[in-house]
């Protein structure tokens, strides 16, 4: 047995190490003797069998003849082509009632299509065909846009039919809505509640002033107050809320602290949050690029996670363990636009260069493009930099869309925010789970 190449060693203040394995997510605390014993294991040092079994299950030690890149490649392909969970994202409309300064919609309704009842029907037929063909025990439907609530009738039809399909197929169905939160009323929230919607994701762009400056109506009026009214409506009915908090060069810990205090004032109690760096991936929003944080400039994240923990806000900072970078890289994930065209990634929806097919009237994916095969055949273990990287199982080779934006091809790695923030995430997560662990905040071992 030898130590895995996917081990990350973090020295502790009082000696010893935390060993985190990026392939399994297993984490051990080892003293110096244990680390030495493991390093010399092949020389015959004795390590108790029960510990060996745990270390082996956690992938911290692997067989001497194990090609870990090959192991990752197999798991990557299993996740890509053998997932039993279908994920379908449906854009009920391209239209939006906002004109956010960083979004293509803020540039004058670049895309305007609305999903018609007949396209809703064929999309739902597509969903049914896919669930039955794949024998899915579980599938998720995500309503997205534009602003999906602008086509609420379609949303309700999709939610109703999906739920019926789940009953019919004895499958578990996860339904969620990603909305800007400005069109929620007591009436339509009650309709979502009746349908047992799993969660609603809403984005905030910082404290009131910052948010209102960026996330605004077409009239220029800010949306902060209206979003807070919507959060109250959702909260009152106990509907799960996910708050995405966008960060950019304007973001400060003090500003986010003010925002969290505002959320506390409305007694928001059932929400999870995560921070996401604003990105400019389309030409329409490129003039905001100067305000975007680069992947290597996300040093503010640990302070934001710590802030959330101090204020008792449920924030996830567990390091990712990914077999593929995101669900778009699996063959069981589709994004359907209002015209019934199919894309792999939400970021490229509307850009026909990245369209991978369309839905026929009988609910089948037809007119399959070369981009479909190019997208799905990308394998990070073919990239030398990924093969050498101990963080590969945390990032899965990076975002395909971002790789394309940079290289004009899907077939490149992308060292993104995950790669650069993972050690911060790991430390923050350990602090969250084990507050008394004597972490050395400024030191990392490369052993």
């Amino acid at each position: 047995m030898v130590l895995s190449k996917y081990n990350v060693f973090l020295p502790l203040k009082n000696g010893g190490y935390i060993v985190y394995n990026t392939f399994s997510g297993a984490t051990f605390r080892l003293d110096e003797e244990a680390v030495n014993a493991l390093r010399q294991y092949s020389d015959g040092r004795t390590i108790p069998e029960t510990s060996l079994a745990k270390l082996s299950r956690g992938h911290v030690i692997v067989g001497e003849d194990t090609d870990e890149t090959a192991v990752f490649r197999v798991e990557h392909n299993k996740a890509k082509f053998a997932s039993s969970v279908l994920q379908i994202t449906i854009l009920t409309t391209y239209q939006c009632n906002l004109a956010c300064s960083y979004c293509y919609q803020g540039k004058g309704d670049v895309l305007r299509g609305v999903m018609s009842p007949s396209t809703v029907n064929k999309t739902l037929l597509f969903l049914k065909n896919e669930v039955q063909r794949r024998h899915c025990g579980e599938f998720s439907v995500i309503l997205y846009g534009g602003e999906p609530m602008l086509n609420f009738e379609a949303c309700l039809k999709i939610l109703d039919v999906s739920r019926d399909l789940a009953k019919q197929e004895n499958a578990r169905c996860h339904e969620s809505v990603i909305t800007n939160g400005t069109l929620l009323t007591s009436e339509n929230v009650a309709e979502l509640y009746k349908r047992d919607i799993e969660n609603v994701q809403i984005t905030l762009d910082g404290p009131r002033d910052e948010h209102d400056h960026k996330r605004k109506y077409k009239s220029g009026t800010g949306t902060y107050s209206d979003i807070f009214k919507s959060l109250t409506l959702l909260n009152d009915l106990g509907i799960g809320i996910v708050l995405r908090m966008n960060i950019d060069k304007n973001t400060s810990v003090e500003g986010v602290s003010n925002l969290l205090d505002d959320l506390k004032k409305i007694n928001l109690e059932n929400y999870n949050t995560y921070f996401s760096a604003l990105r400019c991936l389309t030409g329409a929003c490129s003039d905001y690029a100067g305000m975007c944080l680069q992947d290597t400039e996300l040093n503010i994240l640990p302070a934001l996670w710590n802030l959330c923990m101090e204020k008792g806000v449920n924030v996830s900072c567990r390091p990712n363990v990914l077999r593929v970078h995101c669900s778009s890289q699996t063959d069981s994930s589709y994004a359907v636009d209002p015209s019934g065209d199919i894309y792999k990634c939400w970021e490229f929806i509307g850009d026909v260069r990245h369209r991978v097919g369309r839905i026929s009237d009988d609910g089948e994916m037809v007119d399959i493009k070369g981009s479909y095969y190019s997208w799905l055949s990308r394998d990070p273990t073919f990239f030398e930099s990924c093969r050498k990287c101990q963080w590969l199982p945390s990032c899965g080779g990076g975002c395909v869309s971002k790789a394309y934006v940079k290289h004009k091809s899907y077939d490149f790695p992308h060292c993104g925010d995950i790669r650069y923030t993972m050690k911060y995430r790991l430390k923050a997560y350990l602090k969250q789970m084990f507050p008394n662990l004597p972490m050395n905040e400024h030191e990392e071992s490369s052993r």
Partner: protein
């Protein structure tokens, strides 16, 4: 949390002490099965990857709903 402390007998022909105190403590078990699912980067990964011991979001929502509505 399980903490294991082992006493290991060293090789008397080396300069090491006869008895070595070795600590190996598993803090977090490996992720397996559904916990390895990926979601889109524009969604909260918390919906897919949950820390051990944290109530899944949907269960928490149902629990709060039950408390609030009495159903």
């Amino acid at each position: 949390m399980e903490k294991l402390i082992y006493l290991i007998t060293g090789n008397v022909t080396t300069r090491r002490s006869l008895v070595t105190h070795m600590e190996i403590e598993e803090l977090i078990a490996p992720l397996e099965g559904h916990e390895l699912r990926s979601c889109h980067c524009s969604m909260n990964e918390m919906m897919m990857i949950r820390p051990p011991g944290v109530t899944p979001l949907e269960d928490l929502a149902k629990l709060i709903k039950q408390v609030k509505t009495g159903k």
